[in-house]
Structures are given as structure tokens and as C-alpha cells.
């Protein structure tokens, strides 16, 4: 029997920058953490848990906690790529349940546009210590072609079309027009996506997410602390995590790790996909969304194309409003890692603080899902289910 977590997201803050020419990496982290703590009504001195991934400068949490003046009693530097920050919330909930900490910070920052690539942004791609690298690097596995192979196979097996994939971007753009911080605010059509240059078959330029500087942070607290704050109560109701890899050559590109992380989160939360009012779905590419929706059970395997078509993901239009900030496809994919912004927009929705044009009425149950690493080889999946109390 799994214990029911009693952790709450009390602070959520997204850095407004998308191009941080004049800021250092540590400065972005500091601004994120401070912003999230202010949002929660807490201070740096209250923090006793620190959760980060390899995008922080230095060794684990050491340099950054020194810089911020935090002395945590609990740290977790787990890295599962862009899903790390979704996964971290589940880890915080466990730590809080065990009394290891009561005010935890999760932070993400990066400067892929204006800085030199750091270890959180794929510098390990050619690490000779990495056992897969000698067997993959010679073939030029840049990121879009790894996702392109997933899309190509999905089309082959299930008849998914480029038009259907384009609908994911179209929906994101409908939301992004209302986000003043979004990098791409123009509403696009299916034709716009199909006419954009081919990057790696069958993915066009507009099937790919933006590259942005910035980041964000979360403050996750115990029930006692949450109730003492003057903020809406957003409870972590369920979480699940998984890693999917190439399985020794018995490889299957038609599904993601969400097939494992999703059911764990739904089981712990005691809800089903039909109960979810809003979903933040990791959107490094349009195919990432389509496959994840299938794998989380929002539709049957192979029917993702039909599910996302005709505006079904547009808030106020379709059945499953997704990524109402514009997501990674249009707004922000800071540090090449989209997990943090997924959680933040889910929190906005549950608080009723999303833009009025995209706010889901009565949004009391939301899902956030992260896919970190590479859909076409190895990736970490993390699913969160959040509830407004």
C-alpha cells in the first residue's frame, strides 16, 4: 500500500527572460529561487530541502546552496534530463512524508542561447565514458533525428500524419498568443507547420520546440506549512517515474516511459485520465506530445493523431486543454529542459492564475508530465498529478 503524499506546491515562478545575455547561470538560479520563495511567502532561511539537477553550476547542490546561503538537511540532485523537475516534486513529497524536510526548493536554469553549453544541456552527448556514445555518435544522432525516427515509426505503424502532428503546434500557438513572455506568439495553421522547412523527416521546423534561456523554480512544502501560508492549496496527489531505454537492442520506438510512470501516478492519486481537467505535456517536439497522450491513457495507442486533431488540445475548444502557456513549442524551453515550466503552468491553472483566455474553468485536477533525454533512445519519464484543495 502506497502512502498518500501530503506535500503542497506553495511557490511557482517562471523567469520572464528568454535570452539572458546579461545574466550568469547562477544569477538565473538565484532569481528563480527567490522568485518562487516570494510567490510562496517564504524566505531563503526557511528552506531545508534542496532539489536540483545537472544544470546547476558545480558539484551537485553544493555551490548553489553556498551561493544562496541555504544549509539544507535534505538534498537530491537526481538528473533525468528535462523531466528532472517533474520527478523532483515526487521526490520532495516522499522526503516531506518522511519528515526529512518541510520547505523544499526545486530549481532549473540555463543559457543555451547565450552561454556555453553546460552539462545539463547535452555536453555528455560525446562523453567517451558513456557506453552508448561510441556506438551512436558516429551515426550523427542529433536530437531532431532521434525524435524523427519515433514519428516515422508511429506513422508507419498507426497511419499518423504530419497534419495531425501539426495540430499539436497549432494548439500551442493558440495559447501562446496570450502569453506576453512567449517567444512565438503568432497563431499558426496546419499549413504553416507543413510549409515550414523540413528539419529531420518527418519533423518540420514548427514541429520543434524553441531554444531559450531562463528557467524557474518551485517551492514544495509540508501540509502544516502550506496551511500557514496565504496561498491556494495545490496538493501533490500522485507521482510516478520510469526510465525507458533501448533494451539491449530489443528496441520499440512506439511508446515512451509514460506507459510506466503514468499508471503509477494515477494509481497513487486514485484518479483516471478522464478526471484530468488540464494537462501539461512535455513538448520538445510535436511527436513527444502525441505519443505521451497515448501512453498516459488519454486515448488508445495509435489513436493519438486522431486525438490531437481539430483543436482538441485548445483550451475552450477541445476536450483536453494542454500547455496553456504556449509550452516548449511556442513559449519557453529553458536550458533545453521543459519539465519545470510544465509544473509551473499546471500550478497556475489549479490556482486560477492562468491567462483568462486560456484558464480552464473549475480546474481542480491537473497532470504534468516530463520526458527527459531522447524519445528515440533513452529517456526519463515523470508524471505528476496535482489537485486544488
Amino acid at each position: 500500500m502506497r502512502t498518500t503524499p501530503t506535500a503542497y506546491i506553495a511557490g511557482a515562478w517562471e523567469h520572464p527572460t528568454r535570452k539572458a545575455t546579461d545574466k550568469t547561470l547562477i544569477q538565473l538560479h538565484a532569481e528563480n529561487v527567490k522568485g518562487a520563495l516570494q510567490d510562496a511567502g517564504l524566505t531563503m532561511q526557511d528552506v531545508d530541502g534542496f532539489f536540483c539537477a545537472s544544470d546547476v553550476p558545480g558539484l551537485g547542490a553544493m555551490s548553489i546552496t553556498e551561493y544562496l546561503g541555504i544549509r539544507p538537511t535534505y538534498v537530491d540532485n537526481t538528473d533525468t534530463g528535462g523531466s528532472s523537475y517533474v520527478l523532483a516534486v515526487g521526490h520532495v513529497a516522499q522526503a516531506i512524508a518522511e519528515g526529512k524536510c518541510s520547505v523544499a526548493v526545486v530549481t532549473l536554469a540555463g543559457k543555451p542561447r547565450t552561454g556555453r553549453p553546460n552539462k545539463g544541456e547535452g555536453a555528455f552527448f560525446d562523453d567517451p565514458n558513456c557506453p552508448d556514445v561510441p556506438y551512436e555518435l558516429p551515426f550523427g544522432h542529433v536530437i531532431p533525428n532521434l525524435y524523427g525516427m519515433c514519428a516515422a515509426r508511429h506513422m508507419y505503424e498507426f497511419g499518423t500524419t504530419s497534419e495531425q502532428l501539426a495540430w499539436v503546434k497549432v494548439a500551442a500557438s493558440h495559447h501562446a498568443q496570450h502569453n506576453p513572455h512567449a517567444m512565438l506568439r503568432n497563431v499558426v495553421t496546419v499549413e504553416d507547420v507543413l510549409e515550414s522547412p523540413m528539419v529531420s523527416d518527418p519533423l518540420h521546423k514548427l514541429d520543434c520546440c524553441v531554444i531559450s534561456d531562463g528557467g524557474g523554480a518551485l517551492v514544495v512544502v509540508s501540509q502544516e506549512i502550506a496551511r500557514s501560508l496565504n496561498r491556494p492549496l495545490v496538493r501533490v496527489r500522485g507521482s510516478g517515474e520510469a526510465i525507458k531505454h533501448l533494451n539491449g537492442g530489443k528496441t520499440d520506438l512506439t511508446f515512451s516511459g509514460a506507459v510506466w510512470s503514468g499508471p503509477k501516478a494515477f494509481e497513487q492519486a486514485g484518479v483516471t485520465p478522464a478526471d484530468i481537467k488540464y494537462a501539461s505535456i512535455y513538448d520538445s517536439f510535436t511527436i513527444t506530445v502525441l505519443m505521451t497522450l497515448e501512453d498516459l491513457g488519454f486515448c488508445k495507442k495509435g489513436e493519438g493523431g486522431k486525438f490531437v486533431a481539430d483543436g482538441n488540445l485548445i483550451s475552450g475548444v477541445g476536450k483536453l486543454p494542454f500547455n496553456t502557456d504556449g509550452g516548449g513549442l511556442c513559449s519557453n524551453h529553458p536550458a533545453n529542459r521543459g519539465g519545470m515550466t510544465k509544473v509551473i503552468e499546471a500550478v497556475r491553472q489549479l490556482r486560477g492564475e492562468a491567462h483568462p483566455a486560456v484558464q480552464v474553468p473549475g480546474c481542480d485536477l491537473a497532470l504534468a508530465h516530463g520526458t527527459g533525454g531522447y524519445l528515440g533512445s533513452r529517456h526519463g519519464s515523470a508524471t505528476l498529478i496535482l489537485e486544488r484543495e
Binding site: Y135, M149, A152, R153, Y156, P202, G249
Partner: protein, 126 residues
């Protein structure tokens, strides 16, 4: 036919793809009987270290493929399902990139990549 060398891949070692006679090789577990890729010091299916090399037919079919158009010239990244049932990442070469299709039959061709004979695949008649 087995190659007597035991796979002992270590870090920084050149990838092991080719037998002395120039054939594509795969690591195979002598305990559970499963081949695997990429080669390692323990079987990923049963953890045994009782491993050997098998010589592959060098034939297979394209499992998936994506032509990266931003490169000059463009190239095709693929997974090929070998006749032995194992998929490996590779490039599809020596063909019209626009004519490559999933499930096309292919055969290995070793191409020099950084001084290492590297297994790529070219379309063949099924």
C-alpha cells in the same frame, strides 16, 4: 559460427563491430542465448558474463529512419532490425535518401568513420 574472443568492451575502447574476416558481429549470451547490442561485459537480459561473439548475416530491415535535412549534405539516421532480431543505430547509405522506406531490406557496408570501419547499411533487393 562463434568467434572465440570474449567481448570485453571497456570505456574509451573502439567500438567492436567487425570480426577479423570483416563480418558484422554481435555479442551473445551463452547462458540465456540472447544476443544484445551494444556489447557489454554482462548480458542485459540475465546478467551473465558468459558471453561470446556471433557472426551476423549482415542483413536486416529498416525499423525506422529520419533524414536530417539541416546537415550538408543530408544523411539518414536509422535503426535496422538485423536478421538476428536485434536493432542497431546506423546510417542508410549508397542510395537516394528520398527513396528510403521503413521495412526496406538492407545489407551492411563498412564505411571508414574516424579511421574505424563502421557498419552502415545499403538497400538491397528483398
Amino acid at each position: 559460427m562463434s568467434d572465440p574472443r570474449t567481448p570485453r568492451p571497456t570505456r574509451n575502447e573502439a567500438p567492436q563491430w567487425q570480426s577479423e574476416d570483416g563480418s558484422l558481429i554481435l555479442a551473445k549470451c551463452e547462458d540465456c542465448g540472447e544476443p544484445h547490442y551494444y556489447p557489454r561485459v554482462i548480458c542485459p537480459f540475465c546478467s551473465s558474463d558468459n558471453l561470446s561473439w556471433i557472426t551476423c548475416s549482415g542483413r536486416g530491415r529498416i525499423y525506422s529512419v529520419s533524414v536530417f535535412r539541416r546537415a550538408e549534405p543530408p544523411y539518414a539516421l536509422a535503426y535496422v532490425t538485423l536478421d538476428e532480431g536485434i536493432k542497431m543505430m546506423t546510417n542508410i547509405v549508397d542510395c537516394d535518401l528520398d527513396a528510403i522506406r521503413i521495412d526496406d531490406p538492407v545489407a551492411v557496408v563498412f564505411k571508414d568513420r574516424n579511421g574505424i570501419p563502421t557498419p552502415m547499411f545499403a538497400p538491397v533487393q528483398g
